[in-house]
Structures are given as structure tokens and as C-alpha cells.
């Protein structure tokens, strides 16, 4: 489904991705873990070219993403859901508009888009909040709007960049529940960046550990935590025990 080869990205002198290789199969849920600044966000943004990589190959369903022109890239992005750490909602739009405006801009009929919007909002437990504005909602609710927005196009791949990292601990669980539900009920390929170790243990089919722009270890969660090879994995294991 997704194949990344020798991906490199530098910000000036700073090397953010130093030759990353990663393969994800259809319907697979992969969790990426690693210390802050190791290049996780950069990697996941490169997948739909929110960040332009310097070099390397990204293949999605065999298609070379790097070779897409702007129209094709837009088309491709509509099939990739992206959930941001900061939710990135459009502040001036209502909750419902936030989850369906891109459908309309993509050419869908307004009513159709609205009903689909309502459906996804119901799915993330925000029925009744359609006409509210993002700033009137709690962080957890906002992130669920963000999830609904990503979900509404029925994407084949969903990219999650630390979706719970900017939430109060109490609100984290309501988002994780929605996520777990999604993983269980859909066949969408998931690439999730998170520090939630127990969540990873529960939902991930594979965990990838990154450090300094490189993948340092990957494998089935139980096996990795049983016998971590890398320093990073060991650190996360300790996190799990305590």
C-alpha cells in the first residue's frame, strides 16, 4: 500500500530525515514512536507532501507520489486523511462546515456533503454540535471534529500526527476511544505517530521506532517490548512498565 524508500529531508543544515525506509500494507495499523525532534512529523507529512522531501521515493498503491503534478496531488490528498496535533480546524467555519466544506469544494452536492458530514460527526460522538464554532468546543471535541473531517472522504490511508499530544490527560481517552473504534471498524490503512504506549500496544500491528531521522527498530508490539533492541525502544518499554 505505502512504500517509502531512502527518504531524506533537511531544513538548511539540520537533517530531519536521514534515509528512511518504511513499508505499510493495506489495512495495516502502524504506530511510529520516537523522541521529540526525531523527524516523525516530517516523515508523516512527506507522505502527502505537506512537506516536500529532498529525495527518496514514496509509492502509494504503486504510484510515485513525488511525480504528481498539483492537480494529481490534490486528488491524491483527498484520499488521505490527516489528523493534526493542533487539530488545524478552520476557525471561522462551523463544526459541520469544517467537516464537509472540502467535499463541496471538491465538487460534491451541498446537501449530500451535509448529510455525510452529519454522519461522521455522529460517528465521533458530536451529534448536536454541528452549528457550533471550533473555539466553543473542548480540545477533545475539537480533535474529534478533526478526525471526522479526515474521515468524511472515506480515505484509504489515515495519517495521524500525535493527535492527543496537545490535549489535557482527561480528554485524551475520549479521542483514543474514537481512534480505537475506527481502527477496529474500518479497513483504512493507519499510520499513527503517538507517545501513547499502551494504546500502541492495543491497536498497533507494528511499531516503528525512530531516532535522529532514521528508523532504528520496528516490529510487532509484543515482541519489541519483550526484547527491545534499540535504546529508544528500551526507553518506551520502561514507560510501559511504570
Amino acid at each position: 500500500m505505502l512504500e517509502i524508500r531512502d527518504l531524506r529531508k533537511s531544513y538548511g543544515k539540520l537533517v530531519a530525515l536521514d534515509g528512511v525506509d518504511l513499508t505499510v500494507s493495506r489495512g495495516e495499523t502502524v504506530v511510529i514512536m520516537g523522541p521529540s525532534g526525531c523527524g516523525k512529523s516530517t516523515l508523516i507529512r512527506c507522505v502527502n507532501r505537506l512537506t516536500e522531501p529532498d529525495s527518496g521515493t514514496i509509492l502509494v498503491k504503486g504510484q510515485d507520489i513525488m511525480a504528481l503534478d498539483s492537480g494529481e496531488l490534490q486528488e491524491f490528498r483527498r484520499n488521505v486523511g490527516f489528523v493534526f496535533q493542533q487539530f488545524n480546524l478552520i476557525g471561522r467555519l462551523t463544526v459541520l462546515e469544517n467537516v464537509m466544506f472540502h467535499l463541496v469544494l471538491g465538487g460534491m452536492d451541498l446537501e449530500e456533503a451535509r448529510s455525510r458530514g452529519r454522519v461522521v460527526l455522529d460517528k465521533v460522538g458530536l451529534k448536536g454540535a454541528e452549528q457550533r464554532r471550533p473555539h466553543e468546543l473542548s480540545g477533545g471535541q475539537q480533535q474529534r471534529v478533526g478526525i471526522a473531517r479526515a474521515l468524511v472522504t472515506n480515505p484509504e490511508i489515515m495519517l495521524w500526527d500525535e493527535p492527543t499530544a496537545s490535549l489535557d490527560p482527561i480528554l485524551v481517552s475520549e479521542v483514543l476511544e474514537v481512534m480505537e473504534e475506527l481502527v477496529r471498524t474500518t479497513a483504512t490503512t493507519m499510520l499513527i505517530v503517538t507517545h501513547e504506549v499502551s494504546f500502541a500496544l492495543r491497536v498497533a500491528e507494528r511499531i516503528v521506532f525512530m531516532d535522529k531521522g532514521q528508523v532504528v527498530e520496528e516490529g510487532v508490539p509484543k515482541e519489541i517490548f519483550a526484547d527491545p533492541q534499540s535504546e529508544i525502544a528500551r526507553l518506551y518499554k520502561r514507560l510501559l512498565v511504570t
Binding site: 516536500e52 490528498r77 484520499n79 493534526f84 488545524n88 463541496v104
Partner: protein, 701 residues
């Protein structure tokens, strides 16, 4: 990043640009026009439209009703189709604007304003305001006629009107004004007035010196080059002359009022004018004049003793406060002021005495009359006695004895008694009495009456009033001491001697090659043997724009400057409100681009260039379309300024319009095109500008 434009957003931008330029031009032009109109209307309301009126008649306020009627009468009678408007009344003076019908707008009428309007009640003068015209101020009378002739020969000039010391050049049409102004200036340029000024106090025969100066000029210039003419005139600057004469009188009065100081210098000592001499009682004397042995001075510090007599003191050279040098002169001081005051006091005393005297004289005359009467009576009795005595004498000698015994006794007695007595009286007394009788008593009486009348005349004189007047004179005499007088005289002298103030003046008219007056100064000084004279050069007249033309010119300039400033401000506003948003977004997107491989392309920032071009495009078009004109600002500079402003906006775009990078990134992740991102995400929350406004028509959410 350039993909951005391929997307179709460029259409939005082009529409925005065109609208921006149009609105900018209309805005800048509009505001400037509003200013123009406002001031123009105000002006027209005040002084009529261009060419509407020809003369302003100044009329005393209290007479304006009658004047109005009279003006209307004159207008109807002499100038049918005239225009009349009463405008501002300033400082008790009403101003009537009078416009002649075209057929009467002639030299004869305009030079004859006084003959037409001189009899209008309350008229206080007039000001010509014929339009279109060129005004020449301060035309020298010597060239006036020549100038008029030359200027009237210019094409486009209808005629030239003499107006006091000014000439009003009336033009055929307004457009020719600049051209004719230039030609008139050329004509004026041919002349030069060379002025020789002599300081006050030099008695100069200006006519004679003028001829001399002409001769000097001739001898020092190549022949045939220029023409020279002596045009010295007295009327020029009469007021100043009168004032200066008054000052001289004042100085002389003060001089004679001051103590007179005479110096008898020590034969060994050389005194100079202006030298200071200190006396024993600290009086400071300045030497004011040396005429052979006779040296004069004046007191500049201290007051002399008040005395009728001449004070004589030794004078020493003054070396500074408290320091005196060697003996230089005996100084005699006569205090005329004190003498005058003394004389006045004496006069007052005399008058008081006179009054007393007249009373006494009147009594004396009365007494004299009494004496005269007594004398006359005595004389008559003497005559009677004489007759009786003669009869008695005859009686006695004739023996007429018919008398009684007593009579006879008396006769005897008398005879016996008076015989000897009468003998003498009769013989000698005959003559004496005759001479007494010869005295003209009546004449004496008449002359006594005359004296009496004169005395009563004297008594009738109001001595009290005279005394009061003399007292008044005494009190109004300047209460100045010598030092004050001395200083005043010095001050007046410096003023009169000052080079600014002309004393005598000689004016030479030069036609042709101008001369360098400062170079000639030393020559004249030498040849005319006067080291104090100065030379000046003046023109024979100055072209000045008429008031309205000037006001309109300034107004037009202001309008252009305002439009220019507005263009710049408008461009800045537009750039900040609209384009900063676009540029901050472009900058954000560009940051994510893969860096260009070619080095030159990396150095060359297309955004800066784009911003610069945009800025100069907006500013230049708006500036040009609004007909802006800022002094010293050329069009290339405007282009450059626009470029700089655009570049600056690019550099500081995020400050003016921060990018909501998260919303923007969400838009990208949702597969929106750049145009959609601009329309739906970036522009709607941006500053409310034209871009924002236009976007409303495109925006779906």
C-alpha cells in the same frame, strides 16, 4: 509556488490590480478635485469668476448705499451690460467689483477710472483686476512710456494700462500669459537702473553729479554698447525724504537744546572728531566737530552744574572707565537749556510785575487829571484877580469916589497892601499869566485819556492765561539731560549715516549691456571724490503674477501634491491590506518548495521582484492617472518608490498579515487547490481590503 498562479488565482489578482488602480486614481484625483473645487468656489465667490470683473472700487462703508445707486447709474449710462457686485466690507471699506462690457474694456476706460468713478460718493481708490493680464510693479517713470510702447507691440497683448507706478498688460487670451510674461521680462531685462547714493548730510547737486556720473560711465565703457541716461527724480521715495528731513530737524533742535561745549585745545595736542574727553567732574565729552581753532563737542555722559554762567574746566583724554590721560583742552560749557528755563521763569515773574504796574499806572493817570483840573481852576481865578486888580488900579488912579466909606477904606487898605505886591505881579505877572494861559490843557487832557486807555488795555490782557501758557511751555520742554541728548544725537547720526538710508540719490538708466554696480562703486568713489557713496542696481519693473493667477497656480500645485501624497498613501494601504496577505501566504508556500538547484535562482528571490513590480505598477498607475505632481519627484523615482514599497511589503508581509499556517496546512491536506485555499481559508479572515471585498463574490463558505 508558481503553481499557485497557474491554478487560476492570477485572474483574481488581475481583477484586483485593475480595480485597485482605478479606485486609487479616482480616490486621489477625487480628493484633490474636492480641494480644488472647495477653494476655487470660495475664491470665485470672493472675487468673481475669471475675467468677470475689471476693477475693485473701494468705498467708505457709510457711503455704500448711495455709492451703489451712483454706480448703477454710471453703469447704465456709460457701460450698458456692466456687472456689479458688492463683496467684502473690510475695515470700514466696502469693495465693489465692477465689470465692464467687452466693448468698453479699453485702455481709455481703464486709464480713466477716476474720471468715470471719481465722483462716486465715499470713493477711496480702486484696484485694477483686469483678466487675463500680466502685472508689472514699480515701473520706473523714466522708462514707462518706452515700455508701454514695446509691450503693446507684442502679439497677444491688447494694450497696456498705466496704474500708478504699475503697468497692467491686458492680454488677448489667457493661454498667452506665460509666453507674454517671458517676453515682458526680456524687455525689462534690457534696462538697468544704476543708483548712486550719498549718505545724509552731503549736499549733492544731483543733477550735476548725475551728469558727471554719466560722463564717467561713458568714458569707461566701449562705445555703442549701451545707452546711458540720467533719470534722477525727486518724487521717488518722498515719504522717506520727509522723514529724514524731520529727523535732521530733530537732531538740530536737540543739538541747540543741549549744553554748548567749546574746546580750547592745548596747542601740543591733536584732537580728532569722535574722541572722548573727561572733565574733572566726570562729564564725558565727545568731540563733534573741528573747524580750525574752533572745536565743538557734546556731553555724552553726566550732567553739568546748572549755571547761567559759562563753566570752564580742564579736559583730559578719556582712556576708559575711571582712567584719564593727559590734559588736552580747556572745555567751556554753556548750559542753554538752563538759560532757557531761567528765561521762562523770569518772563513769568515779569508778567506778574506787569499786572501790578498797570494798576498803579491807572491810579497815576487818574491823579494827573485831578491835578490838571485844579491847575485850570487856579488859572481862571488868577485871571479874575488880574481883572479886578486892573479895575481897582484904574479906580484908584481915576479918583472915581462915589464909593462908600467902607469901600473907600477897603480900597485904601487894598491899595496900601497890594500896591507893592501888585506892582510886581502886574508888571511881571502879565507875562507869566499869558504863558500859563498858552499851555494847551485840552491837549494834555487828551493825551492823558490816551494813556489811560492804554493802561486799561494792559489791564484787559489776560496775564493769568499768558502765565499759564508760558508755564506750559516750560513744562513741555524736553526733560532730557545732556547725556540723553548726546546719545539721541549719536543715534540719529548713525541712522542718518547708515548706508540703508539714502541721502541724496542719483539714478542712471542703462539700456543694453548691464553694468556691475559693485565694480563701479570704487570708480565712482574715486572720480566723484566721495568715499561714502554707494552704488546699487535695480530693475525698472518687476513682473508679478496677478493675485488670482498666483492663487490658482498654488492651488493647482497643492492639488497635484495632495494627489501625489494620496497616491503613495493609497498604494501603501492597498499593499498592506491586500497584498501583504497574498505575499505572506506565498512566502509560506515557497518555504516548503524544494530549493532550486541553480545558484543564481537561489539568490534571486522572485517574490521580492514580484512585490516590487506590483508596488511600482500600482503606485505609478495611480500617480499617473490622478495627475499627481510632487515637486522634485520624477516619474522614474515614483516607479522606484513603488518598487521599494512593494519589496518592503514582501519582506514584512507576515507582520502585516500573519499566515494561519495550520489552517493553511489543513486545507492542503484536504486536497484543496491553492485558489481554494486563498478564497476559503486565507483571505476571508484577512484585513478588510479590496481583496477581501472582491473575494466575497468568489467565496463559497
Amino acid at each position: 509556488m508558481l503553481v499557485f498562479f497557474r491554478d487560476g488565482f492570477y485572474k483574481d489578482l488581475i481583477i484586483l490590480l485593475v480595480l485597485t488602480v482605478i479606485i486609487g486614481a479616482v480616490f486621489a484625483q477625487g480628493v484633490a478635485w474636492a480641494i480644488d473645487t472647495y477653494f476655487g468656489d470660495t475664491l470665485d465667490g470672493m472675487i468673481g469668476e475669471y475675467g468677470e470683473y475689471d476693477v475693485i472700487l473701494h468705498i467708505r462703508e457709510e457711503a455704500k448705499e448711495t455709492a451703489l445707486r451712483e454706480l448703477e447709474r454710471i453703469g447704465e449710462q456709460s457701460f450698458p451690460g456692466y456687472k456689479l457686485n458688492q463683496t467684502l466690507t473690510i475695515a470700514g471699506q466696502a469693495n465693489f467689483f465692477f465689470g465692464f462690457p467687452e466693448t468698453h474694456r479699453t485702455k481709455e476706460v481703464l486709464e480713466g477710472i477716476t474720471s468715470y468713478f471719481g465722483a462716486v460718493p465715499g470713493i477711496n481708490g480702486y484696484t485694477l483686476m483686469v483678466e487675463p493680464s500680466v502685472l508689472i510693479r514699480g515701473v520706473h517713470p523714466a522708462v514707462r512710456e518706452d515700455l508701454m510702447e514695446q509691450i503693446e507691440a507684442l502679439s497677444g497683448v491688447r494694450f497696456v494700462v498705466k496704474d500708478g507706478v504699475n503697468l497692467v498688460v491686458v492680454l488677448a487670451e489667457e493661454d498667452g500669459s506665460a509666453d507674454i510674461t517671458r517676453k515682458v521680462e526680456d524687455i525689462l531685462q534690457k534696462y538697468q537702473i544704476l543708483e548712486l547714493r550719498f549718505p545724509m548730510g552731503f549736499e549733492v547737486d544731483t543733477q550735476e553729479v548725475g551728469e558727471q556720473a554719466l560722463a564717467i560711465l561713458h568714458s569707461h565703457s566701449s562705445p555703442g554698447q549701451s545707452e546711458y541716461k540720467n533719470v534722477t527724480s525727486a518724487q521717488y521715495g518722498e515719504d522717506l525724504d520727509a522723514f529724514l528731513k524731520a529727523l535732521v530737524e530733530m537732531r538740530d533742535f536737540l543739538g541747540s537744546y543741549a549744553s554748548q561745549v567749546r574746546l580750547v585745545p592745548d596747542p601740543q595736542v591733536n584732537l580728532g572728531v569722535g574722541e572722548l574727553i573727561i572733565l574733572e567732574d566726570d562729564l564725558l565729552i565727545e568731540v563733534t566737530g573741528i573747524y580750525g581753532d574752533h572745536v565743538e563737542g557734546m556731553i555724552v555722559e553726566g550732567s553739568p552744574v546748572q549755571s547761567m554762567d559759562t563753566i570752564v574746566q580742564a579736559g583730559y583724554r578719556y582712556l576708559g572707565p575711571g582712567e584719564r590721560g593727559e590734559f588736552v583742552a580747556d572745555v567751556e560749557i554753556e548750559n542753554e537749556r538752563y538759560r532757557l528755563a531761567y528765561a521762562v521763569d523770569e518772563s513769568l515773574r515779569l508778567l506778574a510785575e506787569l499786572e501790578e504796574l498797570s494798576v498803579q499806572a491807572s491810579t497815576a493817570v487818574n491823579n494827573a487829571e485831578g491835578v490838571l483840573t485844579t491847575f485850570q481852576e487856579a488859572l481862571m481865578q488868577l485871571e479874575v484877580l488880574q481883572v479886578q486888580m486892573r479895575q481897582l488900579n484904574e479906580g484908584i488912579t481915576n479918583g472915581d469916589a462915589k464909593s462908600s466909606g467902607e469901600q473907600f477904606l477897603v480900597t485904601l487898605l487894598l491899595n496900601g497892601l497890594f500896591q507893592t505886591l501888585a506892582q510886581g505881579v502886574i508888571h511881571t505877572g502879565e507875562e507869566s499869566l499869558d504863558s500859563l494861559q498858552n499851555l494847551d490843557i485840552e491837549e494834555m487832557r487828551e493825551s492823558l485819556a490816551g494813556i489811560s486807555a492804554q493802561i486799561s488795555n494792559v489791564q484787559e490782557i489776560d496775564v493769568a492765561a499768558i502765565m499759564e501758557q508760558i508755564g506750559f511751555v516750560r513744562d513741555t520742554l524736553p526733560n532730557l539731560n545732556d547725556a540723553e541728548i548726546g546719545q539721541s544725537i549719536r543715534l540719529i547720526n548713525t541712522y542718518l549715516g547708515g548706508q540703508v538710508i539714502p541721502g541724496e540719490r542719483v539714478q542712471l538708466l542703462i539700456e543694453g549691456q548691464h553694468v556691475d554696480e559693485k565694480a563701479l562703486e570704487s570708480l565712482f568713489r574715486e572720480e566723484l571724490e566721495n568715499p561714502y557713496m554707494h552704488t546699487y542696481s535695480t530693475s525698472v519693473g518687476m513682473v508679478t503674477p496677478d493675485a488670482r493667477g498666483e492663487v490658482f497656480r498654488i492651488l493647482k500645485e497643492v492639488r497635484s501634491i495632495v494627489a501625489g501624497m494620496l497616491s503613495i498613501i493609497f498604494t501603501m494601504i492597498v499593499l498592506v491590506l491586500d497584498h501583504a496577505t497574498v505575499f505572506s501566504t506565498l512566502k509560506f508556500l515557497r518555504a516548503n518548495d524544494r530549493p532550486n538547484k541553480r545558484r543564481w535562482a537561489r539568490l534571486f528571490n522572485p517574490l521580492l521582484v514580484l512585490g516590487g513590480v506590483l508596488g511600482s505598477l500600482i503606485l505609478t498607475s495611480v500617480y499617473y492617472l490622478s495627475r499627481s505632481q510632487i515637486p522634485f519627484v520624477s516619474l522614474p523615482f515614483v516607479v522606484f518608490l513603488g518598487f521599494a514599497l512593494g519589496g518592503l511589503i514582501v519582506v514584512f508581509a507576515e507582520r502585516f498579515s500573519p499566515v494561519h499556517s495550520m489552517e493553511l496546512m489543513a486545507g492542503q491536506s484536504l486536497g484543496l487547490s491553492n485558489v481554494q485555499i486563498m478564497r476559503e481559508i486565507v483571505i476571508p479572515p484577512s484585513r478588510p481590503g479590496l481583496l477581501n471585498l472582491l473575494n466575497r463574490f468568489r467565496q463559497q463558505f
